[in-house]
Amino acid sequence: MSEISKLTELRKLLLDMESSMGLQDLSSVERDIYYAASDHAISAGAVKTTVLQEHALLAQVSRPTFFRGLKSLQKKGYLEQCKNSTRGYYIVKAPR
């Protein structure tokens, strides 16, 4: 694991803590999409929707729920659609 991924893992752990304390505004599906995107973004930079859907955490999530979660994460500033590539690629953002 690289330095960035360790920081990401620590951030994921503390997001879990934030969520348990009711300080975070993400649903469980949104959180799983964000975790999955963080995992892939470490190695690839941007992450493709189809790759996200195949992630172990999202295997049981239906397609409509997945896309609703994805849209909501974009709205909340956690993910951003890649501008300089074809559709379906997302960048993990530091949420505001």
Binding site: L15, S20, L23, A94
Partner: protein, 183 residues
Amino acid sequence: MGQQRLIQETGIVSLAYLAAFFVTFEILMPVQSIFFPEFNNQASLLFLPHGVRVLSAWLLGWRSVLALLPGVFIVFVYSAGDLAFTPSRLAGIAIAVTIPATIFHLLRLLGWDLSPATGRRPCWPCIMVAGLLISLFTSVLTNFAFGSAAEEYVAYLIGDVFGLFFLMLILMLIFRSLRRYGV
């Protein structure tokens, strides 16, 4: 590349350990002695360095042994002076750096793998449980090496568990603030 990463990890973890130690002993302990003067003045009720030991062992595994070593050694020399080189203190240093990674490894062997991995949800209460186990084993072994009194076990245990929780809470608030300012 691997050696450079190890040096970098050792620097970050040991500095974090030293920072946690100085905050605990130079800021929190004087406050503690005002509110709980009857408590043993060596046992902090909010021992933040335990959090650094647990989180570094969780993130780095066995590499945390080397990463923690300089920080733990400096703390022992700072607290005990020349006595840091006595067999009991050296045993204390060895216990402090090896037990966290050993407990995570034992838990993995017992089928409870908490190490961060792709596709695994993080679980902060699980880290707290691991931290409690690490504290139990560390305090029993350290007190055995030092020949400390039984009531100190409880004080160390409370300090470790609260230390881990509050360190995670502090980090959570730092990450939240960083997010707010877009860092």
